[in-house]
Assembly symmetry: C2
DNA sequence: TAGGTTTGCGGACGGACGTTCGATATGCCG
DNA sequence: CGGCATATCGAACGTCCGTCCGCAAACCTA
């Protein structure tokens, strides 16, 4: 019984892993079930024994990935109270996970809108749990309202999640270095020691230098 | 002659603007030419008078958007030498433009891989011009090699480009505030004044706490 | 070995898509 | 007024896609 169950599970997980790679390479909508059939060696119709629709396949990948990311994080943060330390652990978990599971994380970051209805809602629930954990930590670190917490939170996640657009494992600096650099940039700033200059830097802003793209004096927004 | 030319241009640009909105809402591959025909009021085949293929339509949108963004930036930076000021202008231009042209910028950020061949190459060329301008500025600000310039550059762009995933014009803080907050976070850091704590925060890292998603001791990466 | 459940497949169906073609209207120039 | 370039359209073509159905192995159990 245990063996049968685990044989099924192993094959499902192998399909999910392969499908994640294909979705990452070609994009969810571009990739066809036939592509996945070819890559897994399972026949087109045979795949439907393991999921009920293409969208459910995407959901299974995203839910599994985010679930693991989240439970790893909660295990790590357990018992740790100091907010800087909690932030460091959050970023470390996120970035390590991202780089160890590039395909899944790219699918998670890039195909968020491909899910609809209940599938979408369930993944978004987990997403909200993560962002609210982060936002709480950030508000402990900087309780004064001089920086918008939502902006700060998504600035941090943007910094990290953008990884899939540029990171190449064979050419870039190792993970530990990325964690260190991003943590330092976000917490200490990229150029923290020039206290006098930023004031200068803010004079003469572009003002309305960004009208619509299409007409030089466009009436957008 | 000038009038005919400009009538053609106006219609083309109106089509591009509508198409950008639809691509932003539904995604490039999900959106059909029929959707664009419906939204513009032009017939399906009539659209092909203005472009030769769906991919060229996407290219025209991206190229126009990035072109404007880039020329705005170069005009702004002209004659400004102080690197902090240049960085501030770059971020201000980027964020203002992003928020004033959400649809186009979402298409630019999210549909980068939808272009192929020469279309892809031409947009990437402009993209590279922007990132290299940014990287040069950052290296002037922090010449020491203690933070990887590539990581810093893409951390900054990730922070900004991630906007399209969370920003809601009606609920969020105004643009000027977003520019200020992001500039401060990136340059000064989110929590710059706790010099002692970060050292503590780095003890006991998760180590190999991020194996593959799928197996607890997986052989990924 | 008989019977039932699990696992797998080939082939088809209906629909949506990008693109093309030939025809028509419109407006300008001679 | 005749003719050419511009602008627009309806209808169709060929292809690919997600999904479903019916049938056959394979395998466990009794």
């Amino acid at each position: 019984m245990t063996d049968e169950r685990s044989a099924y599970d192993e094959k499902l997980e192998s399909i999910l892993r392969t499908a994640a790679q294909i979705f990452a390479e070609k994009g969810y909508h571009q990739a066809s079930i036939r592509d996945i059939a070819r890559a897994t060696g399972v026949s087109l119709s045979g795949l439907y024994y393991y999921f009920n629709s293409k969208e459910e396949l995407l959901f299974l990948i995203q839910d599994h990935a985010f679930g693991t990311l989240l439970s790893n994080l909660e295990r790590l943060l357990d018992g740790v109270a100091e907010p800087h330390r909690r932030l460091r652990l959050l970023m470390e978990n996120h970035l390590r996970y991202f780089i160890a599971n590039t395909a899944e994380m790219k699918v998670l970051s890039h195909e968020a809108e491909a899910l609809t209805g209940d599938f979408r809602r369930r993944v978004n629930g987990k997403k909200r749990r993560l962002t609210e954990t982060a936002m709480q930590i950030l508000q402990e670190i900087r309780p004064a309202g001089d920086v918008d917490p939502r902006v700060a939170t998504f600035a941090m996640f943007g910094m990290m999640n953008w990884l899939y657009n540029w990171h190449r494992a064979d050419r870039d600096v190792p993970v530990e270095r990325i964690v260190d650099d991003m943590y330092r940039i976000f917490v200490e700033g990229f150029a923290p020691d020039n206290a006098a200059v930023p004031a200068l830097a803010r004079e003469a802003s572009p003002g309305d230098a960004a009208p619509s793209i299409w007409r030089s004096g466009g009436a957008d927004e």
